[in-house]
């Protein structure tokens, strides 16, 4: 038996023994995520057990190095772990911006001491992070951000406002882009700063969205003092001073890949045609609404082609081929496709899909999800920004 086969066998046995039955329902919706953090209320004892056992093993972040609380697994092993978890419909034990965003940034740009200090609490779900990038006047033009960060000797003094900070009201810490050099050109005076949300002067205000939910906040900093070192030898800035844009760019690329991969993942459940068939019915073996049938078939073709493209890009990266800037293409296509998909699901749902409250529709689950997708092509860089990036970096068109 090869090493990987042995690993698969051991992994399956371990998961069988350690994944609580309640955590094997395949639930992946936003409402079932375990986010962790100081204020986290576990939905069940099983959710806590599952998190603790996986964290102990380093498998909440299986690819991270062991010394920082990860599992130290190779790419192939991570793939096997994921596929085994999928097979038993195991829920993800922990999701967070610490895992998705800050972790990768620290792993690439942080010092060894910063990694040792900040990463393990993320892997155990003890500290929940949020992301402070956009500002009221810095959206697509993110690098024009103005949140002020002044050098006051032993500490930084932060004043300004962030917007679209996901779950800021429930988070413990924030990683932030701040302006440390107002005289430099706009990309060159930004730093990547870590701030404790419990610090004096930090406040948040949830933003209610068209879906009725409030996953985002406004976050305000009024004379917030951030120590230069959070603990001896643990700097509060990641990467070099005034080089925060490098970190941000790296993370934005990473975020785009995640968003587009998520858009594709939704395709894994029941197909649009299957859903429409059960809702509208068939006539002579064909969907009773022929125009909708055609639109769905076209969309399934594009969705399928998109998934295969994700697969090809991954395989090309492994083989050392391909174009780096393709994350913009995947983000653009994946999010636009997801919006199209939900429009078609709303079309097949008809008037029933329009009910906003009540058990029949689980409080308008589809309608709220449909509205949520409209943000897909805005967050992490709008579709138009992605098209600009493709034109500039891949097609190398002039003046872009």
């Amino acid at each position: 038996m090869s090493d990987l086969e042995t690993f698969r066998k051991d992994t399956r046995a371990w998961l069988e023994e350690n994944c609580p039955a309640e955590m094997r329902d395949g639930a992946g919706g936003e409402d079932n995520i375990c986010w962790g953090g100081r204020n986290w209320q576990f939905q069940s004892e099983a959710q806590k057990t599952w998190l603790d056992r996986m964290a102990e093993k380093g498998w909440t972040v299986p690819a991270w190095p062991k010394e920082y609380g990860g599992g130290g697994l190779s790419k192939e092993e991570v793939k096997i772990l994921k596929s085994e978890m999928r097979d038993m419909k195991a829920r993800s034990p922990l999701e967070s911006f610490g895992i998705w965003m800050l972790g990768p940034a620290l792993l690439k740009y942080g010092t060894h001491e910063q990694k040792l200090h900040f990463l393990p609490p993320i892997t155990r779900g003890e500290i929940r992070w949020c992301q402070g990038y956009s500002e009221p006047n810095a959206g697509s033009d993110l690098a024009s951000l103005q949140c002020k960060c002044e050098d006051k000797g032993d500490h930084w003094l932060v004043n300004g406002q962030k917007v679209w900070t996901s779950y800021a009201d429930e988070s413990d810490w924030i990683f932030c882009l701040v302006r440390t050099d107002p005289k430099a050109t706009k990309h060159n005076g930004i730093s990547f700063l870590l701030i404790d949300m419990a610090a004096q002067g930090v406040s948040t205000k949830p933003i209610k969205l068209i879906s009725g939910k409030s996953p985002f906040c406004e976050t305000f900093f009024d004379d917030v003092k951030v120590p230069k070192e959070h603990a001896p030898g643990i700097g509060s800035i990641v990467g070099d001073l005034n080089r925060g844009w490098d970190v941000a760019k790296y993370l934005l690329t990473h975020e785009r890949e995640m968003i587009s991969a998520g858009g594709g993942g939704l395709f894994g459940g029941r197909g649009m045609g299957e859903i429409a068939a059960s809702e509208i019915g068939l006539e002579a073996g064909r969907l009773a609404d022929p125009m909708l049938r055609g639109k769905i078939a076209q969309a399934e073709i594009d969705g399928w082609a998109f998934l295969l493209t994700l697969e090809r890009m991954k395989d090309e990266a492994k083989a050392g081929q391909g174009v780096g800037a393709n994350s913009s293409m995947l983000k653009y296509y994946g999010t636009e496709f997801n919006k199209r998909r939900f429009e078609l699901l709303m079309d097949s749902g008809g008037s029933e899909a329009l009910e906003w409250e009540g058990e029949r529709t689980q409080d308008g689950k589809l309608a709220r999800s449909w509205l949520r997708t409209k943000a897909n092509s805005i967050e992490g860089g709008t579709s138009e920004v992605q098209l600009n990036i493709i034109a500039k970096r891949i097609l190398q068109l002039p003046g872009a």
């Binding site: 090809r312 081929q321 002039p398 872009a400």
Partner: protein, 379 residues
């Protein structure tokens, strides 16, 4: 299997690109058109391709072929699509070779496959009878007559049918038009008594014909596969053709796109390169994304034909539909972005638009394949 070309396949691609750029650029097709060439391709060039192993790319080594698989065949089709190379590659090396390899008896293989490999014999596949693709609608009759059959009916849109030495034809030995059962494939000598052919000059300047079968005699030995083998065996061959056409369209679309991007970078209006206009940049970036999707489905279809030939129907439909739509978009954007010059015959882009339109229609357009996909997926 990783969704990338292997090193061998990449080498084949690079070699093919070098060869075709030199020997078969778009100007070669233009020359054939201007000469109103009845063959529709250069026999000398085809001979050279055969010597490199291209004609027998799908043929087993026992029959003198390269046995390089569908991905290899797709690589060649894509490169020929880039330069719009006129050759009997699709009709002979993909369709006929697949039919013979998958359905032929030993005697048939021994007789025909070596001649495909050497480039001596040109084949054509005759399926459609009406203006839209519909193999299930086959009406052409193959009536029992003594120990054999008599074939009667009309076929249209037969690629290379005007010069083919042999014709593989779908005819009905049982059932009625619309039935999936009762269709049989025959391999007929094109010189057989009772066959008349009319060369059809097509918009893409490639060879094609309408065929008339008037009581053409066929024996049991001429049957390819099983009598009443039905749509299933024909579909396998068509799927190979669809994936090949998808690859060809992918190559043509990429070439048209490259020409267009070059043009956007050099053409100036209002004192500035037109490629600096966001209105054009966003359309170019969208088209780039679509082309990437087309490349992925096409490669997947070819890989699936190699790995699960009998199950590749749905992915081949996917590839044919997607490639058809994307290549159409690429050719339309190419003409529009080139402006007036894109409308001139002197400029090559029109040749791309014309070939893509024909490849799009052949063996089912995007609507045909979207419908087929929906049916296969139960809605």
């Amino acid at each position: 299997m990783a969704l990338v070309l292997t090193e061998e396949q990449q080498m084949l691609r690079d070699a093919a690109r070098g060869f075709l750029d030199e020997k078969a650029p778009v100007s070669a097709l233009r020359k054939l058109r201007d000469a109103n060439d009845e063959t529709g391709f250069s026999r000398d060039l085809w001979k050279e391709m055969a010597e490199m192993g291209w004609a027998g790319i799908l043929v087993g080594e026992d029959y003198g072929g390269a046995d390089f698989g569908f991905v290899g065949a797709g690589v060649l089709a894509e490169e020929m699509g880039r330069t719009l190379t006129a050759s009997p590659f699709l009709s002979t090396s993909i369709l006929a070779a697949t039919a013979l390899q998958k359905l032929g008896g030993e005697a048939q293989r021994q007789e025909h496959l070596p001649k495909i490999s050497t480039g001596e014999a040109v084949f054509a596949l005759a399926v459609d009878e009406a203006r839209k693709h519909g193999p299930q609608k086959t009406a052409m009759k193959a009536e029992k007559h003594g120990n054999g059959f008599k074939l009667s009916g009309d076929k249209t849109f037969v690629a290379d049918g005007q010069v083919a030495d042999n014709i593989i034809v779908a005819a009905r030995t049982a059932g009625a038009p619309g039935d999936a059962e009762g269709i049989t494939l025959f391999l007929i000598d094109a010189a057989a008594k009772g066959i008349s052919r009319e060369r059809t000059v097509m918009v893409d300047s490639r060879g094609a014909a309408r065929l008339k079968f008037d009581g053409v005699d066929a024996t049991g030995d001429d049957v390819l596969g099983e009598v009443d083998g039905g749509l299933a065996s024909l579909e396998g061959v068509l799927n190979a053709g669809r994936a090949g056409l998808a690859a060809e369209m992918s190559g043509a679309a990429q070439a048209a796109f490259t020409m267009t991007m070059d043009y956007l970078k050099e053409r100036k209006q209002f004192g500035i390169e037109i490629g600096s206009f966001q209105a054009l940049q966003h359309r170019a970036a969208h088209l780039y994304s679509e082309i990437e999707l087309m490349k992925s489905v096409t490669l997947k279809a070819l890989q699936d034909l190699d790995e699960h030939y009998g199950m590749a129907g749905i992915i081949c439909s996917l590839a044919k539909a997607k490639a058809g739509e994307v290549a159409k978009l690429a050719s339309q954007e190419a003409v529009q972005m080139h402006g007036g010059i894109g409308m001139t015959d002197e400029f090559d882009i029109g040749f791309y638009m014309k070939r893509i339109r024909v490849a799009q229609e052949m063996f089912g357009d995007a609507a045909f394949h979207a419908d087929r996909l929906a049916a296969m997926r139960g809605y």
